[in-house]
């Protein structure tokens, strides 16, 4: 029985585990040593087997990287926007000033008429410490400039029509093309090389076209990161953070704005309407957010004019949890 047990591997493992349970240190060290060796051996073996695959790759990769960077239309577009936007703002401001001047005369006459009426409404009739009477809102003062017709357009250079791209496998084909092993013949080998290089050039050209199509297509239709960033930066300068307000770190004010084609804000609405009436702290944060869209510096938003479908309606979330990061 004893001999049977000695040669039985299950019994061996069982007794070994029992030894471990009783903290026999020498065996534990042996086990650790074996595990460490295995840990080293596995990666070494895997590296050895993968070696061939790695050597196949570098022929293609560097060429693709170079082409994509050179041909993308995005940088050119950014420059254009940067050049045009300041001019655009100046022009819009000039037009607004002209409009204001024209309307001032009429407005003053109307205001004076209203002032007389208001002056007769005596606040003294009311109780001490409370005045409920409010000055009636002045309708005339809302001066919405007429729709500004811009003399310019933002156009992308070489904006191609969107194309369907299904030919991804072709790129893979390039990677997979390998010269087949043939009997050694110098003239054939040279021909093969020439043919291969021509094929490769053609393949590169087609890949290049497709890549540029992909990038210009996206830039043309959707707001780019830099365009969104520009809009955010503009609003940062118009929004005054009510720092230190109670539970401000947990308040996320959501504002939906509807934008006119001339990039002025048509309407700004707080989405969390219930909280605006019930929570005075939230009302403060909400009013501060709305003031950002009424701020003179944000009266015309920095948006790419040819992407009106993208930004005619924008949902803003004002989130200031960053102010309460741990120090």
């Amino acid at each position: 029985m004893y001999i049977q047990n000695i040669f039985n591997p299950l019994h061996q493992i069982k007794s070994y585990l029992e030894d471990l349970l009783y903290n026999k240190r020498d065996k534990t060290f042996t086990l650790i040593s074996v595990l460490v060796h295995i840990l080293f051996l596995i990666p070494m073996i895997s590296f050895t087997f993968n070696e061939n695959q790695i050597t196949d790759v570098p022929l293609i990769l560097p060429v693709e990287m170079f082409i994509v960077e050179e041909k993308t239309a995005a940088p050119e577009f950014e420059q254009e926007v940067n050049e045009i936007i300041p001019d655009m703002i100046e022009e819009v401001q000039e037009m607004e000033e002209e409009l204001v001047e024209e309307e001032v005369v009429e407005e003053v006459e109307q205001i004076e008429a209203k002032e007389e009426i208001l002056a007769t409404e005596s606040i003294e009739e009311e109780n001490d410490f409370v005045i409920d009477q409010k000055v009636k809102p002045e309708e005339i003062i809302e001066q919405k400039p007429e729709e500004v017709k811009n003399d310019f357009e933002i156009k992308l250079k070489n904006k191609p029509e969107p194309k369907e791209i299904v030919e991804e496998p072709e790129v893979e084909i390039v990677l997979k093309t390998k010269p087949k092993k043939k009997t050694f013949n110098v003239s054939k080998v040279l021909k093969d090389i020439e043919q291969e290089s021509e094929d490769f050039k053609k393949e590169q050209e087609t890949t290049e076209d497709k890549q540029s199509d992909v990038f210009t297509d996206e830039v043309g239709e959707k707001m780019t990161i830099s365009e969104l960033e520009m809009l955010k930066q503009q609003l940062y300068s118009c929004y005054t953070v009510p720092a230190g307000a109670k539970e401000f770190q947990d308040m996320k004010v959501q504002v939906k704005i509807i934008v006119n084609p001339d990039r002025t804000v048509k309407e700004a609405i707080i989405k969390n309407t219930a909280k605006m009436t019930s929570d005075p702290f939230f009302r403060t944060a909400g009013e501060a957010a709305l003031r950002a869209f009424n701020h003179p510096n944000c009266s015309v938003l920095m948006l790419p004019e040819d992407k009106y479908d993208e930004w005619n309606e924008i949902n803003f979330t004002f989130d200031f949890s960053w102010m309460f990061d741990k120090v």
Partner: protein
């Protein structure tokens, strides 16, 4: 049927993508004061014109000192009319970038001064507040100015004001080894007209603290080297001894209902400092802690259910929270350094404390469970943080380094908001320490 099926699938995949609104997250903004224009407070006589000037100055200073506003220079104002009875030309105020406009007038009618104000949101082009107040004599003009400031602050920020409040503190004079310390009081803005001494300086006074809901203070006074705890009613000037406490006694503080005081003192037999609760009506004392470590600086939560205190029971001073009956003690501070002077915010959401680490004192804030600890200000020596009644500001005192010849070591009271962005010194006629903030008057 199949047609509808395909149509539905098409709608699901294509319609939302073509009509989805753009989502933008704004996570930054200007942390800077909001511009407010304050017109002249128009008067109908010499008396009222001068009173109007005083009011405008008080309101402007208050709002500016809060760190949330700055007053637009009146040289820039295009419209100079009394806008209480008139609709402002908002475009004129937009041009000078005023976000809010405050206008007021003052009249002397029926032996009282009557003030009307109107507050406008310039960018929205609408009135947001209108108030009328009156005072029987001009001595109350300063208070009236503070009251109006509170109204404006409350409407714009959404939280209670703090301008019509006072600060009690220890006024100090003389070299460091012979300091004369007197109890003093002033308006929160530290205006020189508002300063008053409450004790004569004969005895050493320490740690004044306001009751949370009335104008009563408690403080310690050493008479013949015996520490006594006093209660001082500022309305009627009555001073009352709460008791003599032999041995070391520390920082009495009121409970939220102002009916009890919590403090720490050492038992002369065991020399061990524990926290005690005294009922001011029955004068009975209950011990709340019982530990070989030193337990000090207790402070009630605004709901009266919890007490935060300081103890070295873990080997070095840390902050602990317990129920108001002394049970369920839990350590809340976890960082490195020596913690002390915990004070529960009137909002109930944070605890202010001091911390000594790396050779510097820090005044910091943490949630009531000890999480989200952050430093508001640090310097050579900072002590005694106290909250404003709206829980948005802290006052504390700062001490300069002292020299071997006994010079230096000047103390001054400072004000800071809880974001740490706006700090300023409150002017006092002499050195000042150990400030405490009153509730609204």
């Amino acid at each position: 049927m199949k047609k509808y099926y395909y149509l539905t699938i098409l709608l699901i995949f294509f319609v939302p993508s073509s009509y989805a609104a753009l989502d933008v997250t704004i996570s930054q903004g200007k942390v800077e004061p909001t511009p407010i224009a304050i017109t002249n407070f128009f008067g109908n006589s010499d008396k009222t014109i001068k009173g109007g000037e005083v009011l405008r100055e008080i309101i402007s200073n208050n709002l500016t000192n809060s760190g949330l506003f700055y007053t637009v220079d009146d040289d820039l104002y295009i419209q100079s009319d009394n806008l209480v009875d008139k609709v402002p030309r908002f475009e004129d105020w937009k041009i000078i970038k005023a976000q809010f406009l405050l206008s007021g007038d003052i009249k002397f009618i029926d032996n009282k001064y009557s003030v009307r104000i109107r507050l406008y949101d310039v960018f929205a082009g609408q009135e947001i507040k209108a108030v009328k107040m009156s005072i029987p004599n001009k001595d109350l003009l300063r208070r009236l100015g503070h009251k109006i400031s509170d109204q404006v602050y409350e409407r714009i920020t959404g939280e209670g004001g703090y301008f019509d409040t006072r600060i009690v503190y220890i006024s100090e004079v003389g070299p460091l080894n012979q300091r004369v310390k007197r109890l003093a009081i002033m308006d929160q803005d530290g205006h020189s007209d508002s300063h008053q001494f409450l004790t004569n300086g004969k005895n050493l006074v320490l740690t004044p603290r306001f009751a949370p809901n009335n104008q009563t203070i408690t403080y310690m006074e050493y008479e013949n080297n015996t520490p006594r705890v006093y209660i001082y009613n500022l309305k009627n000037g009555v001073r009352e001894i709460v008791g003599d406490f032999p041995g070391m006694t520390f920082a009495p503080r009121f409970s939220p209902d102002s009916q009890k005081i919590v403090m720490s003192f050492s038992d002369p037999k065991t020399a061990n400092t524990e926290i005690y609760l005294m009922d001011l009506n029955t004068r009975t004392i209950n011990r709340l802690t019982n530990d070989p470590g030193i337990d000090t600086s207790p402070s009630f939560s605004p709901d009266g259910k919890k007490i935060v205190f300081n103890s070295d029971r873990a080997g070095y001073p840390q902050l602990y929270v317990m129920d108001s009956n002394g049970k369920n003690i839990k350590r809340i501070s976890r960082g490195k350094g020596v913690y002390g002077n915990p004070v529960w915010s009137p909002r109930g959401d944070q605890i202010a404390f001091t911390k000594l680490t790396q050779g510097l004192f820090h005044i910091g804030l943490m949630d009531t469970n000890g999480l989200n600890e952050r430093v508001v200000v640090k310097d050579f020596s900072l002590e005694s943080p106290a909250w404003s009644p709206n829980g948005r500001y802290l006052i504390y005192y700062r001490q300069q380094r002292s020299n071997e010849d006994g010079t230096g070591g000047q103390t001054s009271i400072h004000f800071i908001d809880i974001t740490g962005y706006n700090e300023r010194k409150i002017n006092t006629p002499r050195d000042a320490s150990d400030p405490a903030w009153s509730p609204l008057l």
